[in-house]
């Protein structure tokens, strides 16, 4: 590929707090760093759970309202079903060397990705900087997000 056509910078928004809401964004962010692409990740709404000390490793697969689970919603509501599905999926991911969320955040930070929490959501949920993992660079508003995303491809997940 011609050097000028290469993506140089990405800005990834993670807005959901389910397993499949969080992982694709993390994998894309890490993959970008692996390709030498400058990377910013912005966590908003329930996506914030991925960078919260007490929540990051408790993110679960949604077994209700998810047609691709091929599981009737009535069964999906059984206590433990979501934990079971999450456990199964984590085992498969471990085989592919995909780390648990908390470790993934550390890895992204070590790889040089910048991680930001959305201010509006932080205020809405009454959170403060201490609720977040130390790898989080800052809590920023939308205007700052766009400033930091100058020249980047913005990817919303």
């Amino acid at each position: 590929m011609a050097e000028s056509n290469k993506i140089k910078k990405v800005s990834i928004v993670i807005s959901k707090g389910s397993f499949d809401g969080v992982y694709p964004g993390l994998i894309m962010a890490n993959g970008a760093r692996m390709e030498g692409i400058e990377t910013t990740v912005f966590f908003t709404f329930f996506g914030l759970e991925a960078i919260m000390k007490k929540k990051a490793d408790k993110i679960k697969v949604a077994t209700v309202g998810n047609p691709a689970m091929h599981l009737p919603s009535l069964l999906g509501i059984i206590p433990g079903m979501s934990a079971f599905a999450t456990h199964k999926m984590k085992k498969e991911m471990e085989k592919l060397d995909i780390p648990p969320v908390g470790e993934f955040i550390e890895m992204l930070s070590d790889a040089g990705a910048e991680l930001y929490a959305c201010k509006a959501t932080v205020d809405m949920f009454h959170l403060t900087k201490v609720d977040f993992m130390p790898q989080v660079n800052d809590i920023i508003n939308v205007a700052t997000f766009y400033e930091k995303s100058a020249g980047a491809e913005i990817i919303f997940t």
Binding site: N30, M34, E35, G36, L96, D110, A111
Partner: protein, 104 residues
């Protein structure tokens, strides 16, 4: 498959320049390949390279960044500073291994 001249040696490579026969690799080839990537190899680089080659010989695939960290004891930060702009790929290329296939 094509042949590529690396310094005074000739090696088999794929379309992207990854060596296809790890047994053709020597330290001199690594130094020459690294130079093409703008990297001057040091002892720390060779620590990564020797783990990668050992792991490849045992498992048949180039290790992921996480594996380099957990099994090889090479921190992700160090890896990115030793092989900037694409550590797993560059380290594999210089180590004479195929392009890593994993997503992480």
């Amino acid at each position: 498959m094509t042949e590529k001249k690396v310094g005074s040696m000739t090696v088999d490579v794929d379309a992207e320049g990854f060596m296809t026969d790890a047994s053709q690799w020597t330290e001199d080839i690594a130094k020459a390949l690294a130079k093409e990537e703008g990297i001057e190899l040091t002892e720390d680089h060779f620590k990564v390279i020797s783990f990668m080659r050992k792991d490849f010989a045992e498992n048949g695939t180039a290790p992921s960044i996480r594996r380099l960290n957990k099994a090889g004891g090479i921190s992700t930060k160090d890896l990115y500073s030793l092989f900037p702009d694409g550590p797993a790929k560059k380290a594999a290329k210089i180590s004479g291994l195929p392009k890593p296939q994993g997503c992480v």
